[in-house]
Amino acid sequence: MGQSGSGKSTLMNILGCMDRQFSGTYELDGISIAQQSENQLSAIRNQKIGFVFQAFQLIPRTSALKNVEIPMIYAGMKADARKVKAAALLEKVGLGQRIHHMPNELSGGQKQRVAIARALANDPAIILADEPTGNLDTKASYEIMEFFTNLNKEGATVIVVTHEEEIAAYTDRIIRFQDGQIVSDKKVVKGSC
């Protein structure tokens, strides 16, 4: 966590394999990211990483179901299998009744849950959430964080970028940024707050 401009998002872009223009090395599953082609990075993002953004980033005029299907389309999954899995994922995030809703028909919390379902589409090992609660009210924020906690218990690595202490409190490890530098890296003992 850290203040705005502290370098959190830059790190997110590097971790998310969207930015190769960095010094140093980044290895993901033993693959050196800086040396991958753009298409190889696309495949890595598609298979290994699930993104959740502050602004939800759902595709407009496209139903919740279709939005969740997108990563599977690029993974080359068959249409029938895609639909079944997308519906199951939406069910999992508690939107089983709203799979055919358009993004503009959903509340902020619901949109973010669609985005989480989409992030889970190809069963990625890592969930990268960039200020996932930044546009949500407190109640929705807590719900989303509860969900991330559960995903983490199921075995996924969840990386959350935030500037809010309450949100950071849900995690097991907090890395603090200031002016592009890591200033602290602490394991949190659960149940203390």
């Binding site: 872009n13 998310g16 969207m18 930015d19 753009e38 298409n39 696309s42 495949a43 993002r45 598609n46 298979q47 993104f51 953004f53 980033q57 759902l58 595709i59 407009p60 005029r61 496209t62 997108i70 990563p71 389309i73 690029y74 993974a75 080359g76 249409a79 989409r118 190809n122």
Partner: protein, 402 residues
């Protein structure tokens, strides 16, 4: 990514911006329909001309003398005696010899006078003019030989003077020279020229036919001489025989006898119409390029508008190729849809024009195939630049785009 998925995406994007998509298509619609209409109009004209010459007969030829140093004299014109001699010399190979004179003359019945064209026909008149006689008969050889005052009228002329197409047995007065001469109507024919041909000839011209011996006197000098081969396939051989014969008769070198035939004329008109429609078609094809630029323009707008969508797709694993095909297919679909509508419109315009002029129109399949293929190529060609621009977008920047 699957082609089907891209087509679905393109359709939903086109549907989301109906008006814009339609206006973009309009360029292609106008381009394709005008190319098809113009090229088909040219093809139709060519077929009309070919039909017209089929009526005239492809055995028809004519000649005139173009003397050395333009020294015109007695031996550079044709007389009726020349025609007779030529006929005897060529025998059965020659079906018809005449001067093909058509003169504007006044025709009077009672108090009514009308100016029309009076054409002379010599012996074996059907070889020269195959009229569709609806009442009475065609002029005969005897009419010609005995200089009978017989006339064949056009149906419209007969109706105009007598209120009835069947004017056989009636008399009309024609002012051939100074005085009015009385003619007996022996036949009435129906003009079979197409509406287009009539329009080309200057509207409602009416023709009446009389024996040529009454129209061309023995002492007149005539500029040109017409003849028809008994067998159209033997026309070339006959032409050279006639040239040789006339050259000897007129004591001139063969090069001064200028020959021309209906088939040559037809070939000339045909190639002229062909190149004319090709040129105009090419000009119309420029509008296709303009339509293509319209597609490029709107695709650029679409790419800019959807920068964020592109960023999201890239973050979710879309490769450069996936984004490229998505936008390329969208551009191709807009232009193909425009091409199809344009084809339909172009054919409709041609068919409507054909109905209006009462002619059978010619729309060649290859013209449609070329036009549609060209429109799809224009779509792909002009869609390529915007699609590449979309595909190359940096996801980090694209996601932040507002």
């Amino acid at each position: 990514m699957l082609i089907f998925e891209n087509i679905r995406l393109a359709l939903s994007s086109i549907r989301a911006n109906k008006m814009r998509s339609f206006l973009t298509m309009l360029g292609m619609i106008i381009g394709i329909s005008s190319v098809i209409a113009i090229v088909s109009l040219g093809d139709t004209m060519r077929s009309v001309v070919a039909n017209e010459y089929k009526n005239v007969g492809l055995g028809l030829a004519y000649m005139y003398i173009n003397p050395p140093d333009d020294t015109y004299g007695d031996n550079t014109y044709f007389t009726t005696a020349d025609a007779e001699k030529l006929k005897e010399a060529m025998g059965d190979d020659l079906a018809y010899v005449g001067f093909n004179q058509s003169l504007r003359k006044d025709m009077t019945v009672g108090r009514r006078t009308k100016t029309l064209y009076v054409t002379g026909l010599a012996e074996n008149p059907t070889a020269m003019k195959n009229l569709k006689i609806i009442y009475g008969r065609m002029l005969s050889d005897k009419d010609f030989q005995e200089k009978r005052h017989h006339i064949v009228l056009q149906k419209e002329t007969a109706e105009g003077f007598f209120g009835d197409a069947n004017a056989v047995g009636k008399t009309v007065k024609v002012k051939l020279n100074e005085d009015q001469e009385e003619f007996l109507v022996v036949g009435v024919y129906e003009n079979q020229d197409s509406a287009l041909m009539k329009a080309l000839q200057g509207g409602s011209m009416e023709f009446a036919y009389i024996p040529e011996s009454l129209l061309v006197s023995e002492d007149s000098y005539n500029w040109s001489l017409y003849f028809v081969a008994a067998d159209a396939n033997q026309l070339d051989a006959l032409k050279s025989r006639v040239t040789g014969y006339i050259a000897r008769m007129k004591n001139l070198d063969q090069q001064y006898i200028i020959m021309s035939s209906a088939s040559e004329e037809m070939g000339m008109i045909d190639s002229m119409l062909g190149s004319l429609s090709a040129v105009v078609g090419a000009i119309a094809a420029i509008s296709l390029v303009v339509g293509g630029i319209g597609i490029m323009n709107i695709m650029l707008v679409s790419v800019t508008e959807r920068t964020r969508e592109i960023g999201i797709r890239k973050a979710l694993g879309a490769r450069t190729k996936d984004i490229l095909t998505q936008f390329l297919i969208e551009a191709a679909m807009i232009s193909a849809a425009g091409g199809l509508i344009g084809t339909f419109l172009g054919i409709s315009v041609v068919a409507l024009g054909g109905m209006l002029f009462g002619i059978t129109t010619v729309v060649k399949l290859q013209v449609i195939v070329i036009a549609v293929a060209f429109s799809a190529m224009v779509g792909l060609g002009f869609g390529l630049y915007p699609a590449r621009k979309a595909a190359k977008a940096d996801p980090v920047i694209a996601l932040r785009y507002e």
